[in-house]
C-alpha cells in the first residue's frame, strides 16, 4: 500500500515536471509531452477582432490559419482588396489585429484542430481557410447540394451556417445542423 502511494506520488511529480518542460518551448516533442492537450480550437476572445472583422463575416478563430497566412491577409494592400471587398483598417487597428492573430495562430496552439491544420499544411500559407487540406478533407464527403448548391449555406466559408457552436470554437460533428437538411450523419 505504501509502495503504491509512493509510486503514484512519483508519477505525479514526473508528470508535473514534464508539463513544465513542455510549456517552455513549442516544438513537436513539447507537444507530445505536454498535459496541455485541448480539443477543438481556441475560442476567440479579442473584442476588437470581433468588431472589426465580425461586422462583415464570421470571425474566424486565429487558430484556423498559420501566422504566415494572417500576415499576408492583413497587409495594407491585401486588405484593400479583401476577396473583392475593401476592408481597409486604420494602421493602429491593423497592427493590433495582426498581433492578436499572430499570437494565437495555428502553429502556436495546442488545440487539436490547429495541430491538424498545421500537420496538413506543412509549410504552406494559404489565403483561404477553405484551402487548408485538413479542412477540405473534413468536408470531403458532404455533397455539393448541402453546401454550394444549398441557398441557405452557399459556401464552405460560412462556418456558422452549419456549425452551430462555431462562435465558441467548437466544430464537432455533433454540433452540425445543415439548414434545410438537419443533423449530419456519416
Amino acid at each position: 500500500m505504501n509502495m503504491v502511494r509512493m509510486g503514484s506520488g512519483l508519477l505525479l511529480l514526473m508528470l508535473v515536471g514534464v508539463a513544465g518542460i513542455a510549456s517552455a518551448d513549442d516544438g513537436f516533442y513539447s507537444w507530445l509531452l505536454t498535459l496541455d492537450r485541448k480539443g477543438e480550437i481556441a475560442p476567440l476572445v479579442n473584442e476588437t477582432y470581433k468588431e472589426e472583422c465580425g461586422s462583415c463575416h464570421f470571425p474566424y478563430q486565429p487558430g484556423l490559419l498559420p501566422s504566415g497566412s494572417w500576415k499576408k491577409l492583413l497587409s495594407p494592400s491585401a486588405l484593400e482588396d479583401h476577396f473583392g471587398e475593401n476592408a481597409e483598417l486604420d494602421e493602429d487597428v491593423r497592427l493590433q489585429l495582426l498581433a492578436v492573430l499572430e499570437k494565437s495562430a495555428a502553429e502556436t496552439s495546442y488545440y487539436k484542430r490547429s495541430r491538424k491544420i498545421m500537420a496538413s499544411l506543412k509549410d504552406a500559407t494559404p489565403l483561404r481557410i477553405t484551402e487548408v487540406p485538413y479542412i477540405q478533407r473534413a468536408h470531403h464527403e458532404v455533397p455539393a447540394r448541402l453546401i454550394k448548391k444549398n441557398d441557405k449555406v452557399k459556401s464552405l466559408s460560412y462556418c456558422d451556417a452549419c456549425h452551430q457552436k462555431a462562435d465558441k470554437g467548437i466544430y464537432d460533428d455533433d454540433t452540425v445542423s445543415i439548414p434545410g437538411h438537419g443533423a449530419w450523419t456519416w
Partner: protein, 135 residues
Amino acid sequence: MHRLLLTLLLLLTSVTVLAAAKIPTSLPKLFDHYAADSAQPFDAERGKALWLKQNPAEDGKMRDCTTCHGDALDQSGKHIKTGKVVDPMAPSVNKERYTDLKKVEKWFKRNCKWTFGRECTAQEKGDILKYLSLH
C-alpha cells in the same frame, strides 16, 4: 524594476484600448467636421444623386450605394456578396448611426472606394450625410 514593468504593461494596455476606441460624435458635429474642408453648404439633393449614382465595377456590373444598403433607408440592406445584413441608414430608426467618427470615416473610406473607385471628398461626405439625415 517591478514598478517599471507594471507601468509599461499599463501603458501598453491603454494603447491597445485606445486603438479600438470610438470617437463619439453626432450629425451636427459631423457636418461641422466636414464643412471645414468644403466649399459649399451641404445639399441633400446632391447627396441623393451621389447615393444613387451608378458606377461600373470590375465585375462588369453596375454599383451604387443601394446595391448593399437597399432601396429603403429606414430598412435593413443586404450585402450583395456576403449576404451580411446592413442595419438601416436612417437615423430616425437606427440610433446607433453617426455616433462614432471612427466608424463613419472607416466606412466612408471603404465604401467610396468600393463603389466609386476613389475616396469621397469632405463635400461629398457632407452632402450624402445631409441626404441620409433627412430619413
